[in-house]
């Protein structure tokens, strides 16, 4: 391990490893960061939180040296150092793992780990593949990662393994010692198991004395991991506190500037009419699912990554073929295409916002009204722009969308607000059945609360919801019952009331009775 400059934990160092202060940055008059300070101590995980647009991204870009700050003071172990270029950042010892991993899919794991540095040579020119692969395997082994063949193309690996490759690559960069790691939403695309493995690696780095700046929206992770938390709001420092000095409610208040809206107590109302009934359902990936879905109910679907959650939702959307069993809807047979599904009041919020959800170049209005064009149209298929704008405006208001103009391209909104547009699209037709595939992925706390409120409103109005989420707390908070899948099979259907994250995880892993690690 190269992160060796700081002393071991326990013997408290006298000064922070890296101290930023007086950091200000404006973009053409708009203040992105205003007099922000941040200390990174060796052997500490420092969480950075804030809503989308609070200034986290700018802070990270400044740290990486890609965006020069207007004013900044940087001290490395008490000594003033410059930070205005990526080279400065590297010299300080900062290493970055961005949301979008810089992995070249066609290259092997080993090549990715050695990317940008000369590979070991034989005879001065031929790449020494065995040595390259051995070095890569050693780098991975430092994280306790085994089972990744360094010769595999990186594109074949899951997100979790890619994250490990990226981290290994950072550690392998030997020019300057890696002192501090900046992880930007590292678990956004990871499964629970992959996240758990990443946390173990982070713990290892911390014990070796590295400083970790951990940027995340996920409250549970922050509570579990961090030794210190800094919250930004509107470009200003809203709060910074060591472990013990913050709690969940306090963090939310600091981020949003308002107290957490207490979730309205779920009324254990009598279930409504049966909306859908599955019996012995089987497809290529799903086996033997039997459940009913009632009006006014949220049915959560939980499981490890690719346990079949998405496939189940897609089945209701008219995709996939039934191999056995039946899926009956109150409105008739199962739709045979997404077009039919939407026409029958089934709405869908996809998992991959960029790939499956938004049309980034199209306006908020166009994105919102797309499935409802026929309902809004005049007689011979003529579009009615004013009705379209009215619909978009109504939903933007209801979901508290932050936007400048309804005709601005959706791609110019923050991630959370893009997600709200997808919700607006789904909600616009007052759907009988809402299919939500991990609907708050990478969404900040405020937007998340607005989305949750919209889901609850739909349920209160008699709609049914089929929900998956990688955030177990969210699943528990929203669902009435939870369907648990493992490898496409139904392993349980339990009421959410009285269940906690540990209990749910135990069910997912099939360790009922044992306490699962959150």
């Amino acid at each position: 391990m190269t992160a060796t400059t700081a002393g071991p934990t326990g013997s408290a160092p006298a000064s922070p490893l890296i101290a930023l202060s007086g950091l200000s940055k404006t973009y053409g008059g708009a203040v992105a960061l205003d007099d922000v300070g941040l200390d990174l101590w060796p052997g500490e995980v420092h969480a950075l939180m804030g809503e989308n647009g609070a200034g986290k991204s700018t802070l990270i870009r400044v740290l990486a040296g890609v965006t020069p700050a207007d004013r900044i003071r940087v001290r490395l172990q008490g000594r003033a150092v410059p930070l205005s270029s990526p080279a400065d950042a590297a010299a300080i010892g900062l290493r970055f793992v961005h949301q979008e991993l810089n992995i070249v899919p066609h290259l092997s794991v080993a090549e990715n780990i050695h990317l940008g540095r000369p590979a070991p040579r034989r005879l001065g020119f031929a790449v020494d593949w065995p040595r390259l692969n051995a070095q890569a395997a050693a780098a991975l082994a430092r994280f306790g990662v085994s089972g990744i063949d360094p010769a595999t193309p990186a594109g074949r690996l899951g997100m979790g393994d890619r994250m490990m490759i990226r981290l290994a690559a950072l550690l392998a960069e030997a020019d300057t010692p890696a002192r501090a790691f900046v992880l930007d939403e590292p678990t956004a695309a990871l499964t629970h198991a992959e996240s758990a493995r990443l946390f173990a690696v982070i713990d290892g780095l911390r014990r070796d004395g590295a400083a970790i700046l951990y940027v995340s929206h996920r409250m549970d992770e922050v509570m579990a991991l961090s030794d210190r938390v800094t919250v930004l709001r509107d470009g200003r420092l809203a709060m910074t506190a060591p472990r013990g000095g913050f709690d969940r409610a306090g963090l939310i208040a600091a981020m949003t500037g308002r107290a957490e809206m207490a979730a309205p107590a779920r009324t254990a109302a009598a279930p409504g009419a049966v909306l859908a009934q599955a019996e012995g359902l089987a497809t290529d990936t799903l086996r033997d699912l039997s459940f009913t879905l009632h009006a006014g109910e949220v049915l959560g679907v939980a499981g490890l990554e690719n346990a079949g959650q998405s496939a189940l939702l897609r089945l209701f959307l008219g995709e996939g073929r039934l191999r056995a069993g039946s899926l009956r809807l109150a409105s008739g047979a199962r739709p045979r295409s997404p077009a039919q599904a939407w026409a029958r009041g089934i709405a869908f919020v996809p998992r991959e916002r960029r790939r499956e959800g938004v049309m980034p170049g199209r306006s908020i209005t166009a994105n919102t009204v797309l499935p409802h064009l026929a309902a809004l149209a005049g007689p011979p298929g003529l579009a009615r722009p004013r009705a379209e704008v009215r619909m978009a405006a109504r939903l933007a208001g209801a979901l508290r969308l932050k936007f400048r103009r309804l005709d601005q391209p959706v791609g110019s909104l923050s991630g959370g607000n893009q997600q709200k547009v997808l919700f607006a699209r789904a909600m616009a037709g007052d759907p009988r059945l809402l299919l939500l595939d991990d609907p708050t992925r990478g969404v900040d706390v405020g937007a998340r609360a607005d989305i949750h409120a919209a889901i609850r409103a739909r349920v209160a109005a008699g709609g049914a919801v089929l929900l998956t989420s990688t955030d177990l707390a969210e699943l528990l908070a929203l669902s009435d019952r939870i369907l648990i899948l493992r490898d496409g099979s139904q392993v349980g259907l339990v009421p959410a009331l009285g269940l906690d994250a540990a209990g749910l995880l135990a069910l997912i892993y099939g360790m009922a009775g044992r306490a699962g690690a959150a």
């Binding site: 997404p338 869908f348 790939r355 959800g357 938004v358 980034p360 797309l370 298929g381």
Partner: protein
Amino acid sequence: MIWLRRYGTLAGLAAIVLFFSVMLPETFLTLRNLGNIGQQVSMLAVVAFAMTVVMVMGDFDLSVGAMASLSGVVAAVLFVHGWPVPLALAAALAVGVIGGILNGVLVAVVGILPFVATLGTLTMFGGAASLVSDGRTIFGRDIPEAFSGFAKGTVPGLGLPALTAVALAVLALVWVLLEQTTWGRRLYAIGGNAEAARLAGVRVIRLRIQAFALTGLGAAAAGLMYAARVASANPTQGNGLMLDAIAAVFLGMTMNEEGAPRVLATLVGVLILAVLDNGLTQMSVDSYVREILVGAIILAAVGMAGLGGLARR
């Protein structure tokens, strides 16, 4: 900056018109010359408007030129066989729709990239045109006066050349379809993100086939206009329309922020190409130099639009 991006190309057209008006004060801005331009551009305009329909979805149709040749030849061969003019024209237009559907099926159902699929059909249509015509030019007495006379005619009362009137009618039709109907909205949605549109209930496959069919129909119509204008049909005469049509759509795409094709913007692109051809010929600029200039101006327009976008970031 947005201003430059949006209106730079239009300003370019204005500048070109201004330039020729100054250089050719006697002849350029005359009713007669403008009428000429309107007539000269009509076939390219129809192909470009039709091309806009598929480019809205982010697709391409390289087969439009070959289809224009094919439809002209089909009509001419049917004339030779003594078919009445309206029937022969209907058959030629039907060939356009069928060819377009073939393109649509290859792209939307079989899943071949539009570039490759329409490159294949381009070759097929070209071969079919040679086969149907025996590789010959059909002209003279075989082309009925009722057909070729149309291209020389004007709209009664308006003095508008008939071919220009057809182009304007196609423009109006495509504009209504793309800008005023839910059908057009869905096409733009496919262009914005096809998978997202599909999951949001847009029948992507059906729409793509319909759009390609419409483009095929437009190409066939342009081929008939061409055949009427030259009072003859040969199996390669429309081939040159394809690249100019794509260039016109690209010129038009420089005119909006999202870089999405708009049919009125395509019209500006078409006019730029036509005005340059007309004016430079009148100034006796060598035809090869003219080609180099036209290419350079296309690149300049698209390049400036690109720079405008870059500067906004």
